[in-house]
């Protein structure tokens, strides 16, 4: 009986070890995990125009359904580079994931959406209102910070209602289940064009040029294949520069990858007053976001710049 049990457990452990085993780190193609979002467009551009191949890299840009799944794939070693909102990357680092933020990919683009007929005209009108958000996300931390700045306590003066999907939040706002929804582009511009939504403000009004999505790399890649990361970032910088000069073409590429929306809408949502595609990043802005997350109880401890970032690759490559 004991022998049989031990044998079964042995098989289970072997399966678990194989399933959780890390992917190859020493060579071969590199996998980059991104999502379908405006500020992830530099990765689509680099992929479409062969910027990675120009650097002599065999890179595969993979569209992943959620930020959490990108981090989980990086944890397992299935991917070596990823892009998510800065809040996701900070939470992952606080949770022990061995990654470093190495560049920016976009700023702004998030804000607060209300119904056009809601009568809500300013942030002060949000007192005692229900606001949809995704706790701990880039839609949440700048929202709390904006409320704080306006003298509203995020936990007392408004009711934050937690969701997990942008689509569910928009539906809840449309049907009057909530009074406002923290949201992002191009969904906010889309709701205005449809006539039912109104962008109350972008969070850039409270934190100018706030960081949105960042690029990060697995620690093994940084230490074992630094030249690969340097090349990835060179391609990234080139793609960001292309996106900032060719807004219409970038919108068309985004539509191609998003599989929804029309190019004109996406082009409008790329306007400089709404968001900015960027690769430059500072340690201070990331530390500030981490500090806010700690203050709002979203991460257990304060994180230092050394734990969060490695900007040497960006500085060396540019």
């Amino acid at each position: 009986m004991v022998r049989r049990m031990t044998m079964i457990l042995g098989i289970l452990v072997s399966i678990l070890t194989i399933l959780t085993g890390c992917g190859p780190e020493s060579g071969g193609p590199i996998a980059i995990g991104v999502r379908t979002a405006n500020d992830h467009s530099p990765f689509y551009i680099a992929d479409k125009f062969g910027y990675y191949a120009d650097e002599g890299l065999e890179a595969e840009v993979q569209l992943v359904p959620s930020n959490t799944e990108i981090i989980e794939a990086i944890q397992r070693g299935d991917m070596q580079v990823g892009a998510t909102p800065v809040t996701t990357a900070i939470a992952a680092i606080a949770g022990g994931t061995k990654i470093k933020i190495v560049a920016m990919t976009g700023r702004g683009s998030d804000g607060l959406l209300v119904r056009a007929d809601s009568g809500i005209e300013s942030i002060q009108d949000l007192k005692r209102k229900k606001i949809a958000t995704i706790r701990g996300s880039i839609l949440d931390v700048p929202l709390r910070q904006a409320l704080d700045q306006a003298g509203l306590d995020p936990d007392r003066d408004v009711a934050l209602v937690y969701f997990n999907k942008l689509g569910d939040m928009i539906q809840a706002l449309k049907t009057g289940q909530v009074d406002a929804s923290s949201n992002t582009e191009p969904f906010m511009t889309d709701s205005e064009r449809q006539g039912w939504g109104k962008i109350l403000f972008y969070y850039t009004a409270f934190w100018p040029d706030h960081p949105c999505c960042v690029v990060f790399a697995r620690q093994e890649l940084i230490t074992q294949r630094p030249e690969v990361l340097r090349k990835v970032l060179r391609a990234h910088v080139r793609a960001v520069e292309y996106a900032n000069v060719h807004r219409r073409e970038t919108a068309e590429i985004i539509v191609e990858y998003l599989g929804a929306f029309d190019p004109q809408l996406v082009e409008a949502s790329l306007a400089p007053e709404k968001m900015r595609i960027d690769y430059q990043i500072t340690a201070q802005e990331v530390e500030r976001m981490a500090s806010l997350m700690h203050r709002y109880g979203l991460i257990d401890r304060e994180l230092s710049g050394e734990e969060l970032l490695d900007l040497s690759f960006l500085e060396a490559g540019h």
Binding site: M5, T6, L9, V13, L16, T17, T20, C22, T68, I71, Q75, R76, T88, A91, A92, A94, G95, G96, T97, K98, A132, I134, R135, G136, S137, V161, Y162, F163, N164, K165, G167, D168, Q171, A172, T175, Q177, V178, L298, I299
Partner: protein
Amino acid sequence: MRGLPLLLMVILLWEVLPRLGVLDPVLLPPFDLVAVRAGTLLTSGELLLHAAVSLLRVLAGFALASLVSIPLGIGLGLRPGLRERADLLLAMLRPISPPAWIPLAILWFGIGDRPAVFIIFMGTVLAMLVGVLTATQGVDKRLIKAGFTLGATRRQAVWLIVLPGLLPAIFAQLRVGLGLAWMCVIAAEMVAVRQGLGYMMIQARNLFQTDRVLVGMATVGVMGWLLDLLLRGLERRVLRWREGLEAHELFGRGGDR
């Protein structure tokens, strides 16, 4: 408690494998760290609150599903004409997973407890319904005929012959349904709630707090086990008359060969 040694061995491996570096502790935090986290959550009262809220939602969804699936399953099982009409709809509804109901749950029930209960109900009711229906079709026709011969009315045949014959299958379906209800708790608590084990696990996953996810999973496991134990106790009391009639008694240790 014959299952305890296997459980302890799994816990031992859970502790040792990440400690020895066989498994990355980020992917599987060692058992003692998870136990410490569980202790912190217990003493702060947070875990009990989440568990109590989830328990109420699970019981509400499960109770509604039982109230609908048992009478409907028996009714459809006894009326072939009705069953044929319902078959297509049931076959099309069954593959729809609980999270797929979320948008409709928000539209129909708003936000809060009601959509959560609805999602648990939808994830539970159809499997129980089909189970009861199939068991009803399998009731021995000869017993019912004998009842009619002895002068029973249709109502008496259902209450005195079909229903007692179905009780073991109904208890089996209740146990299946209760398990499914717990499995739906994560999907149910994705919708605009701020308490519950599903909520706790989703938030922990989003913030990469794997130890909290594991505490949530273990709590769901323990609560599911305790409720199953209660249901089995009730089953033994209600079905005491079946003692000595069950097939497994012939095969177990010291069975009546």
